[in-house]
């Protein structure tokens, strides 16, 4: 190359670098995302409950990628993921349903689907999104691609309209949910298309407050607030026969005040038993996963909110309701003894394990941070700052029934 030409090409290279720097400095979330192909299997979102925003994070690098704003009232929010793990569907308290693009760090679609909402689910084939609503009470089902309304299932019973809770997906394009006011469980079957066949099971117990479905999609378990015990429905059975379990527990004892309702989630299976938070009692209950008999109790620090099993089932991490919500306790499922206890900070709201359980991510609302712990040594591995964080949801949930 002649000297002037070399100089020219050098200049061009410098110029190109400058341009690239200027462009990248002015990039928004979407453009920055396009810098190279990447997977989403280790991504997740953190709900920022007070500001109506979510953080998209990379759990391998333990860092925040984007803040996505404009999701409305997220003071009680949850999320499910598309089968390709690219999109998170976030259910807000105000009835907003927002489809967040994890790669672009932006809102792909958003609809206001009700006045007051409590959570949702995605069908096993990934095509339907169901949202559970308090106002108007019932479940609404949407096309996962467009968020267009597919079906509306008002929870009308003899007493009027009921709030719905404990909405989960079940195999075969079904959704299962319960009616807080009516004490019923309904199964909406979309196997035949967009018109559901709804099966109603009455008399499951007073005021079911939340429910879970086991990872194999067989057992739906609803916790009862209005009476002691829980109700199990074996979805393999025909005809379906709801069965009351643990109805003897706490009999005759005065309940302690419940300053926050416990949550039931499909993570509760720990080995061959379930760990379930008691209601109005500072205990975690252990239930045999085959017989559904109570096999023991562990006294804990306060009213448990989440009792989340590490994916291998050996440990269960528990957080608590106000005013004991600064503490985490870890219970060994073998001995049912507490093996660790510490205070991550004020208002510990949620615990999310990485899919194979090497780390646990813990949101500390009033500490404005998510703390990351080694799930075996409990050593702190990292921290992500977040505004009043609540739920933490990893994209790997896409491949778990009931999550």
């Amino acid at each position: 190359m002649t000297k002037p030409l070399k100089l020219l090409s050098g200049l061009i290279a410098v110029f190109a670098t400058v341009i690239a720097t200027v462009i990248s400095a002015s990039l928004g979330n979407a453009e920055r995302a396009a810098t190279g192909p990447r997977g989403t299997g280790d991504l997740g979102i953190i709900i920022e409950r007070a500001t109506g925003s979510v953080l998209v994070f990379d759990s391998s690098e333990r860092r925040m990628l984007y803040r996505v704003e404009g999701l409305g009232d997220l003071s009680h929010a949850s999320a499910v993921f598309s089968r390709d793990e690219r999109f998170a569907y976030v259910f807000g308290r105000d009835g907003g349903l927002t489809k967040v693009d994890l790669l672009a760090g932006s809102i792909a679609r958003r609809v206001m689907q009700a006045g007051n909402s409590i959570g949702g689910a995605i069908s096993d084939d990934g095509t339907l999104i169901a949202a559970s609503n308090y106002e108007p009470g019932g479940v609404r089902v949407f096309d996962a691609a467009t968020l267009d309304l597919v079906a509306d299932i008002p929870a009308i019973w003899s007493g009027g309209s009921s709030k719905t809770i404990g909405l989960v997906d079940a195999p075969g394009r079904r959704f299962v949910f319960s009616l807080w006011d009516a004490g019923e469980t309904w199964i909406a079957d979309f196997a035949g298309g967009s018109k559901p066949v709804v099966t109603k099971l009455a008399g499951i117990g007073r005021n079911p407050y939340d429910a879970l479905i086991t990872g194999n999609g067989r057992h739906y378990i609803a916790g009862l607030y209005g009476e002691d015990g829980l109700t199990v429905i074996d979805l393999w059975q025909s005809p379906l026969a709801p069965r009351r379990i643990l109805s003897e527990y706490g009999r005759g004892e005065a309940k302690l005040p419940v300053y926050k309702m416990p949550h039931l989630e499909g993570w509760a299976l720990a080995g061959d038993r379930f760990a379930l938070p008691a209601v109005g009692r500072h205990e975690v209950l252990w239930v045999d996963a085959r017989t559904f008999d109570e096999v023991g109790r562990t006294k804990v620090h306060g009213q448990p909110v989440f009792a989340v099993a590490r994916p291998d089932g050996r440990h269960v991490w528990v957080n608590f309701a106000h005013p004991d919500n600064d503490t985490i306790q870890v219970i060994d499922t073998h001995s049912r003894a507490i093996v660790a206890e510490w205070k991550p900070g004020p208002a510990v709201l949620h615990i999310e394990f990485t899919p194979r359980g090497h780390e646990a991510w813990v949101s500390v609302r009033d500490g404005n941070a998510v703390e990351i712990y080694d799930a075996r040594t409990f050593e702190k591995k990292g921290r992500i700052e977040a505004q009043s964080p609540s739920g933490i949801f990893l994209a790997a949930r896409a491949h778990r029934t009931g999550l």
Binding site: D73, H76, N116, I118, W180, V258, Y259, K260, M261, H322
Partner: protein, 112 residues
């Protein structure tokens, strides 16, 4: 002064004295504690009533919905809960002055 009016005046001044007394009872709530109580209402009462207080599993407790309620009646619900309902008694965690402060806070239009 005709006696009905005098009676009304007396009633009014008694009511005024009572409201002053209620104000006095709420006085022990320091500015710092008030900030904590506001956070408690938004976030912890908010677990059932929603952070904007428009309701969730628990009812709407916005000022619009509560309008006309007596602060003392609300304070007693806060302190003693509602039997047969999930509303728990907050007496183990809150003083009467603090419950009254919350009642007043709810009755003011503090939304969203």
């Amino acid at each position: 002064m005709p006696s009905p009016i005098r009676w009304m005046n007396a009633a009014l001044s008694a009511a005024f004295a009572m409201s002053m007394a209620a104000g006095a009872a709420a006085e022990p709530v320091s500015e710092r504690r008030a900030a904590e109580l506001e956070r408690l209402v938004r976030h912890d009462c908010g677990s059932c009533h929603g952070m904007t207080l428009k309701g969730g599993l628990g009812p709407d407790i916005t000022a619009r919905r509560l309008a006309g309620s007596e602060p003392s009646a609300l304070a007693s619900i806060i302190l003693d809960g509602v039997p047969e309902k999930p509303m728990p008694p907050w007496r183990p965690l809150l003083s009467e002055a603090e419950a009254l402060w919350i009642a007043d806070y709810l009755l003011k239009d503090a939304s969203p």
